[in-house]
Assembly symmetry: D3
Homo-oligomer: 228 residues x 6
């Protein structure tokens, strides 16, 4: 039930009985040893599974986000925040125009969070738009699991090392977490600061933990899709 597998008549038909849709916001940015598309792949995997289980439509992912701090890591592609605000707003306006009224945004990238503030301006105008924003790695569900296993979730560490985000072998040791910088780092200093790009901790953990996390995150999404 992804847009890519449908034509417009099928979407029109769907809208006769449902008005829900999921939209994935990601990023194309350094994730240490992991795929540059990690922030797309994780929410997209969750969304695809949730779509199969719930029948809720899934729009094409936005493959880019706001990652100005990582621009000195080759392969990072970043939109200016100004532009990104407009992009997300306009995608939502198109979906709203077609008749979708309940939209679950599955955001995979922390740098996209400012969009949430902008979307308040949008729902102030489109008052019957029920808009939800979910960032899978910020849910209580996840923190509980991480704590249980005595793990710190961080950018580009074990947290994001699913089988489908790995593109090369990962270091066996763990990285000591750098102390958070007190100033807003520019792209050059960010690379000096984080070196390989991981924010520290173990690079990967047992696949059973990753499955546990995926399953719990999926349940979060399924719950949000109920729009209760």
């Amino acid at each position: 039930m992804q847009f890519e597998d449908l034509n417009w008549m099928q979407v029109e038909n769907y809208l006769k009985s449902d008005d829900r849709v999921m939209l994935v916001l990601g990023a194309c940015e350094q994730h240490g040893y992991l795929s540059l598309l990690t922030d797309v792949k994780i929410p997209l995997a969750l969304a695809q599974t949730a779509s199969q289980k719930s029948g809720v439509l899934l729009a094409p992912p936005v493959n880019f986000g706001c990652s100005p701090y990582f621009l000195d890591y080759p392969g990072t592609i970043s939109l200016r925040l100004h532009t990104y605000l407009d992009v997300v707003e306009e995608l939502l306006r198109s979906l709203y125009g077609a008749g979708f009224r309940r939209v679950l945004i599955l955001n995979g990238h922390g740098g996209n969070t400012p969009v949430k503030t902008h979307l308040v301006e949008l729902v102030n105008e489109l008052t019957d738009l029920n808009l939800r924003w979910h960032a899978w790695w910020t849910s209580d569900t996840l923190f509980t699991i991480a704590k249980k296993h005595n793990l710190d979730p961080e950018h580009a560490n074990w947290l994001e090392a699913f089988e489908f985000t790995k593109v090369s072998p990962l270091p066996a040791d763990s990285k000591s977490t750098p102390y958070p910088p007190a100033s807003i780092l520019n792209k050059t200093d960010t690379r000096k600061y984080y070196n390989d790009g991981s924010f520290g901790g173990s690079y990967e953990v047992d696949s059973a933990i990753m499955q546990e996390i995926f399953d719990a995150s999926l349940e979060d999404v399924m719950e949000l899709l109920r729009f209760e």
Copy 2:
């Protein structure tokens, strides 16, 4: 050799010996009976094959384009032209910042053509950026093949009916091509005008012709990638 299968270290390594990259611009819009993502799928298929054959890197596709005329067909998601100009510019700035100097844009959607004019402003500034823009369906190669088979290439007719863009059975008959409207149609009138969304002619043709077209289009891309 797609960004999604690479991490930043691998891109950095690639840049030591090559500075070429492909970027696919698509659209999410009605294509009659074909997939809403037809304009992504075709240039992406060409780019993936060309990447395998040439080793040239392929950035993630832009899944959206400018399709204001089709907004009354559900499933169409359109960016404003203003926004789209900025999106493409900023993606290119990121790639340029990483060291890419020869970029082949594979555009799958006619509505995105205005970006070309904007990109002149960009190359006026980034004077050592070698930027190519290719719209597969506008090449002489294609017209020659279409003419040979006595076929008219049009939006959402046989021209775009590859196996990988079909999502439902196609009508067996052909559609009489409507006379082009003299005024700039708004979205409501556009839907009235084109009904099922195809711009006319046969809905599909023999798969051998489609293979001939794909192969010839691929050769166009391979030639452009030589940057001679």
Copy 3:
């Protein structure tokens, strides 16, 4: 019946019985040996004659367009595409606000074509605005005449060499047409590529041919003004 020869009371009076108006979009850019205002002068001449014959009002011309590629030729004055989209939109909003409902845009410059896409966004909003866009040099009428005389129409060649666009003697010989460049040229390379600025072919042809072209182009305009 041009705005410059009227006051507001006269326009108000006109609007009681007609709601048509013409708007000329031009450019101030190199045209080889021809006037820098060639792209204004040609559609303006057509519009003035059509206005006299039809009584349809003619708004003041936009003397500038998008010509970023020609900025290394002195005398070229170019607006950014972003700005030009807004300019044309706002002129149309003013005309619409006054009561004009049928507008024929006579565009004289290829670089302005992206505006057409933007205007779809406008007619999506102003649904009772009947907006037509005409670029005289792209009409079938013209191609037929050019073909009949075995001539290739190109930027700044014979095609635009009317008596009223000539400002200096023209070369007697013809220029071999350069092969179209495969990359998007920046302004410096554009000047190197085109030298004197003409895109090739004869610099001028017999005045009878030019009259034939003008007359046929005028008939195109007259036909479009019927808004049928």
Copy 4:
């Protein structure tokens, strides 16, 4: 010596010995009984004469300005202030890019005055651009003449009633000047307030006075063109 009578080679040649140029900013707006293009025609007439006398080049006029208050008078065509700031900036960037370093802006319309503030931002960047802004009706020269003849200069009264701005007979009587409104009027209230559009006083005066004003205004322009 207007751009419309020149090709790019002639401008390039001019720039070898001079770097001055004039740019006319006007408006297309109600002027009572006078031409809608009055604010273009007056500075353009001054500029054309000054160009003939001085040899300084004259760029094509900007036929539109900011006239939001007059939008209820048909025939008024107004750009948003945001857009107008960009338009003037970009025209100047083109001229600067070509090598012009001394630019005299001849503004014919009071509503365009905010651009002056924006141009300070431009000269902060282009530090060797000598930019002058002249609004003919605000010069001491003019006030002295008006006072001598016991006349009040106002929008669309005798002040602007040159032979070349008249498009219909003018009322023989004079209009009592309305007291300036204390609030910022919207377009509807503006029309109610000013009725025929003149801001009051005599509609026309003896042609000798108009000639005296034109001659004095021309001398202002000639003086400014010396850039001393």
Copy 5:
């Protein structure tokens, strides 16, 4: 009756019986020997007194304005004109949204004047918004007093030297007024031109005159607040 001394319930209560509010626009820019906030302090002092006398609410001041010409004087903080237009528009939209319908803008800085033109666009949309713009130093009241005392009002001279704007001793002598420059000065030339930043004349005058001016200016504000 300033916003800072109220909570939202109190504002809501106020709106049941009145719909007037004052908004101060200032600047943070060089004022010679006077406070960098001079352009905030003066209209704010007037507004606070007027609020006490009239009971009309006073919104928080905008502490910044458009001062691009003074950017070479340290302590000057300037917004681009584009941004400032949006800032003032959006503040007014918020006030309007809350129910305020009569707004008196007390502007303290000449560089902010372009906003007035932009606000016409706003009242064209919000047709029941009664918006007044007052710049205390441009009133006839003030000119009459200055003339009576044979004083020239100028930026950063005696005119703005109230007790509450002084932050250091003032020169006892007076400064000869420089002749107004004929070109638009950039920030570097502006500083060279004005040296200490005053535009000339006496640096201070007798406090009785200042009181006379303050009282008269206050009466202007009180009169405008009647919205008659």
Copy 6:
């Protein structure tokens, strides 16, 4: 050592021996029973005290922020996020242009947080700008104190009820904290959801606790001002 108490010569003198400055970002928005300017008053009080103790300059506060969700509470004045990004960027550019190189932003309002992402784009350009962002209510210091006293810090509850933010009596009881909404609320629903505007918990606590918090928060600021 606030800008309002200084002239430009004094700032220029300061810059000879120091390049630090503080900038307060606030909001004018509902804070339940507390002052509409609460988000300005708290960081400003901290900044003023820190300035006295450290001698570091303090720029004028930005009295407005992004509060689209609270626009149905009268007295809330909100800027669009797009505009706010530009405002903060431009203030910083002015300070940087004057020679300030270490800037501590003291943000008082959660809705302004998106600006941080935008500022990365700025430091990518101004690479020698050391920019710190501090939101007093998010520091570990504060959480420790709150926890010690078994208090939950929330918008418009005891956390912000300093003597200088109170403008009316506060309820003696406490408010049960509403469960966070799962959807992005529009302004109408936000008001329904939060009623009096407090996000729950006690409305005020013992003044000794408030002093403890202020002192600890001040120490945070003092530490950050060391720029180590």
